[in-house]
């Protein structure tokens, strides 16, 4: 594919082959067959913890992460999870699938990711999960959406490390960054995530939340917008807080965010370690 250096503002969009990027994911899938198999079967209605754990057992690294996550404070099991099958039961099929997706797209290799990728991602995931009930969403699904939301950014970074790095440096705010991504690549990173997940058969209800993030009138999109705001407040010193009431179409007030910020700050590190298998 052809990637041109980041153009000055107002210049024409660079040539960016999305198809090739997506095809590249397929190549990655071939290198992580177990993860790919889990991504494809986890969503099926007739799947079971037994089936998933049997497949998962073939990928020791991934299995270890699922065990670690199941025993993390987030799931409250206090170290009681000792079998892989039970770990799958505890974290849920969607989470297992999300972790497989993380492995598949090499999000577990921090050397190939944008700076602060996991710091932001864990904040996004936990904030989404904690706030989900306020939006009538399942916490588990929201956790997974949060964990994968930046996958598109990782793909863009992977494909255009210098250009994307410069773009991030110039646009520290998430919303502005998405506009810049659209301008440069013809697609923003969250949308790219949605496309990829849809391609792999993740439920539309999940991918649609990603699509709605830039529709300011969408209440559903408000959850992820609020999660991005929490992540920004927790990870960036120079972030100018945006009014959360506006971001969430009135679903949340500033007061509501205070306990969420505390909780996310408390759990983020453990979640990151579980996801990366540190």
């Amino acid at each position: 594919m052809t990637v041109t250096p980041l153009p000055p503002r107002g210049e024409a969009a660079p040539v960016f082959d999305l198809g090739k990027v997506l095809a590249g994911i397929d190549t990655m899938a071939a290198q992580r067959p177990v993860a790919a198999q889990i991504v494809s079967v986890a969503n099926s209605d007739d799947t079971s913890a037994k089936v998933l754990s049997r497949i998962l057992a073939s990928d020791v690294a991934l299995a270890g992460r699922v065990m670690k996550l199941a025993n993390s404070a987030y799931f409250g099991m206090r170290g009681r999870v000792t079998s892989l099958q039970f770990a799958v039961t505890v974290v849920g099929f969607t989470t297992v699938r999300t972790m497989a997706t993380v492995a598949l797209t090499e999000l577990d290799d921090e050397s190939r990711l944008p700076e602060d990728f996991w710091e932001v991602t864990t904040c996004l995931a936990l904030a989404s999960s904690v706030l989900a009930p306020r939006f009538g969403e399942r916490s588990q699904d929201a956790l997974c959406v949060g964990l994968l939301a930046q996958m598109g950014a990782a793909l863009l970074h992977h494909d255009d490390p210098e250009g994307y790095g410069a773009l991030v440096a110039e646009h520290p705010g998430f919303a502005a960054r998405r506009s810049a991504e659209l301008h440069r690549y013809g697609i923003n990173s969250v949308r790219l995530t949605a496309v990829a997940l849809e391609q792999w058969g993740f439920p539309h209800a999940m991918t649609n939340r990603l699509n709605q993030v830039d529709d300011a009138a969408s209440v559903e999109g408000g959850l992820l917008r609020a999660a991005f705001e929490v992540a920004a407040r927790l990870t960036r010193d120079d972030h100018e807080a945006e009014p959360v009431t506006r971001l969430t179409c009135g679903q949340l007030r500033e007061d509501d965010l205070v306990p969420v910020l505390d909780q996310v700050r408390a759990d983020a590190d453990e979640l990151r370690r579980a996801m990366l298998g540190d």
């Binding site: 969009a13 409250g76 009681r80 039970f86 039961t89 974290v91 399942r138 916490s139 697609i187 849809e198």
Partner: protein, 691 residues
């Protein structure tokens, strides 16, 4: 369905696509299919089936010139490439714009032709009537379920994933006094008591594993109070998602409190609130380690408590007991147990004390108790006799420890009231010895080794024998003869007196019947049988009647002797028993008359035939003191009662008693106690035609 082609044979539509269209079209009527083609670098619709025409609302001609991006307004600049991929098929759920401008949510699947310039695009509306209806039904189910749990008075938890709660109802929020948002996720675990958290995790694990489980769990309310609950967990599986649980909670705090009250009542004395005898026994047993323990027991008995009860009333008595309980509680060490053993008896149990420390505690207790208590306007100084026992290697069981301090208390009481006695080795041995003797007495009664001697009673008028008194004797195999003054009180203390009394009664009757058979008219006309105060109850008349019947004797052959003090213990019931005996035809005599405190007025109403003048008054005759014997005999005569003077040891005494008017005489000088066989011989000689 039919598919119309505006230009059949159009070379821009390859045959394989037409085939595919026909195949697909027969699969589903809902399927809309268009063919997209790259023309001059822009994707355009080049063909559509009837389903597409119907769904999109365009005429076929309009459709055939439509830019593909026009159909998918949500795809941003450049994103069309994500849908129309050259190397593979793609799938997206996105809105499709119809001719009217309205957007229809649809699942769009594209398949490229081998050339990579043409795509079959299948559009399946996801918002058709059937789907809407199904979703509405599912939503209604969801609402019904949530309304049911929301308004249910049963606290309910719903997890959709592991321990993490997706839903709590109002009843659970009220139970723990927290808001729903505090409890969702793993927040509810903050409401679980720290010591029960492992149990909850364990039970939830079992529920996630498919089991139905329950556990008793304490929940912490926001205000810090604790509720005890039974939490029941049931497995919940959501296809494609995983396992969760439904938890229902029953608050059993009040029920447990009620049960605890009942248990407390069963183990505590309602008046003083102190542990009762049952709890004491369990408490000591729980702490008793044979050979290694350091327990000490103090047994307290209030001196003269009966006087308080009788003179100031039971309310004052109760007040005194409550005050004593309070003082005991205040004076013992923390951790010592104070129990009410019964009546005016209390027991203090201490751990890790030696004998001097136990005695020091006993002294502190007696000093504390001796402070005056004001009861009914009177200052009373409660004194207690205290028995102290410290555990030794010889104590084999907890009950021995309590028994020993009981013995020590009796020794303290016997030594004069208000004392403290430690049960030492010698005292313990004596007590053991006494226990052995009790066991041997029980055996002796069972084997009828307690035998009877018979002492004649003579008429003062003519000196003829008119009766005998049955006297129980026990000759121990090792210890030799044991005095009735020892074994009768022993039988009374150890609950053997009923058996002993029955033995005496039955043996006397048997002997009378035998004398009748051997001696005929020369047999003793009557036998006097002593009855203990403890036998003097409603069973006695029936027992006497049975014994007489068993040996075919007339009731007039028996006279029952009851001591004056036995009669005065419970005069009302004694009177009833005596009446019953008289109705049988049995005579009744009052033994040891003059040694007690009978009310003479009361005596007048008792159905009594005879008074026995106590041997102490007869003995006084030898010293010229005739006053009491004379008064008793005169009293009996004035009440029309006969008299028996006991303990006549000289002929002078006999003569004097005759002068004073005694009806009968009994004593060593006149006739000694004899065995049944000897008595038969004696009566054969002396008692001809005694009746």
């Amino acid at each position: 369905m039919s598919v119309s082609m505006s230009r059949p044979g159009d070379d821009r539509v390859p045959a394989e696509i037409v085939t595919s269209v026909f195949y697909s079209a027969t699969v589903s009527d809902n399927l809309a299919i268009v063919v997209a083609e790259m023309v001059a670098g822009r994707a355009r619709v080049s063909w559509g089936n009837a389903g597409a025409v119907e769904l999109l609302g365009y005429g076929l001609d309009d459709l055939r010139t439509l830019p593909v991006e026009h159909l998918f307004p949500s795809l941003g600049r450049g994103e069309l490439r994500l849908l129309l991929r050259r190397e593979r098929s793609a799938r997206m759920t996105l809105p499709v714009r119809t001719a009217s401008g309205a957007a229809v949510e649809a699942l769009v699947t594209t398949t490229p032709s081998p050339s990579g310039r043409m795509w079959t695009v299948r559009i399946v509306s996801t918002s058709n009537e059937l789907e809407r209806a199904l979703r509405a039904t599912a939503d209604a189910h969801e609402r019904r379920f949530s309304a049911l749990t929301e308004r249910s008075p049963v606290p309910t938890l719903l997890s959709e994933q592991g321990m993490r709660l997706a839903h709590v109802n109002d009843a659970f929020c009220s139970l723990v006094g927290r808001r729903a948002e505090q409890l969702l996720g793993t927040g509810w675990l903050d409401a679980v008591h720290g010591d029960d958290l492992d149990t909850v995790v364990e039970q939830v694990s079992a529920a996630l594993d498919g089991q139905e489980v329950e556990a008793q769990v304490r929940l912490l309310r926001e205000d810090g109070s604790v509720r005890t609950t039974v939490m029941r967990f049931a497995h919940l599986f959501t296809p494609g998602v995983g396992a969760g649980f439904v938890g229902t909670i029953e608050d059993i705090t009040d029920r447990l409190a009620f049960e605890a009250t009942l248990a407390h009542q069963a183990n505590h004395d309602p008046l003083t609130g102190l542990p009762n005898r049952t709890l004491l026994a369990r408490y000591v047993a729980d702490r008793f380690v044979p050979g290694a323990g350091t327990l000490a027991c103090l047994f307290l008995d209030l001196d003269n408590f009966k006087v308080v009860n009788d003179s100031l009333g039971h309310t004052a008595g109760d007040e005194l007991l409550t005050e004593v309980a309070d003082r005991l509680r205040s004076v013992v060490r923390p951790g010592d147990l104070v129990a009410r053993f019964g009546g005016d008896e209390f027991v203090v149990v201490c751990e890790d004390v030696d004998q001097p420390a136990a005695v020091a505690l006993a002294e502190r207790i007696t000093a504390e108790l001796a402070r005056p208590v004001r009861l009914g306007g009177v200052d009373v100084r409660p004194h207690a006799s205290v028995g102290v026992t410290v555990q030794t290697g010889e104590h084999a069981g907890a009950e021995e420890l309590i028994r020993d301090c009981d013995i020590a208390m009796y020794q303290a009481k016997a030594g004069g009231k208000g004392r403290i006695t430690v049960l030492d080795q010698r005292a313990r041995e004596q007590a053991r010895d006494k226990l052995r003797l009790v066991a041997e007495l029980r055996d002796a009664i069972e084997r009828r080794e307690v035998t009877l001697l018979y002492q004649p009673i003579f008429s003062t008028d003519d000196g003829r024998p008119v009766a005998v008194e049955s006297l129980a004797r026990w000759t121990h195999a090792d210890r030799g003869p044991i005095s009735p003054a020892v074994f009768v009180p022993l039988a009374e203390e150890s609950g053997l007196v009923a058996a002993l009394g029955l033995l005496v009664l039955d043996e006397t009757c048997r002997q009378l019947a035998e004398w009748d058979r051997v001696l005929g008219p020369a047999a003793p006309p009557r036998a006097n049988v002593n009855v203990s105060a403890l036998q003097l109850d409603a069973n006695l008349p029936a027992q006497v009647a049975h014994a007489l019947a068993r040996h075919a004797l007339d009731p007039s052959r028996i006279s029952v002797e009851i001591t004056e003090s036995a009669l005065m213990k419970d005069p009302d019931s004694a009177r009833l028993v005596l009446h019953a005996l008289r109705e049988l035809g049995v005579e009744v005599a009052i033994d040891d008359f003059g040694t007690g405190y009978s009310s003479l007025a009361y005596l007048r109403h008792l159905p009594v035939d005879c008074l026995k003048v106590d041997r102490s008054f007869v003995a006084e005759l030898a010293h010229g003191h005739t006053e009491i014997a004379s008064a008793v005999i005169a009293l009996a005569r004035s009440l029309d009662l006969r008299t028996v003077a006991e303990g006549v040891e000289t002929a002078e005494q006999a003569a004097e008693l005759g002068r004073l008017g005694a009806t009968y005489l009994q004593g060593f000088a006149l006739g000694q106690p004899m065995t049944g066989a000897d008595a038969a011989t004696w009566f054969a000689t002396h008692g001809e035609s005694t009746r």
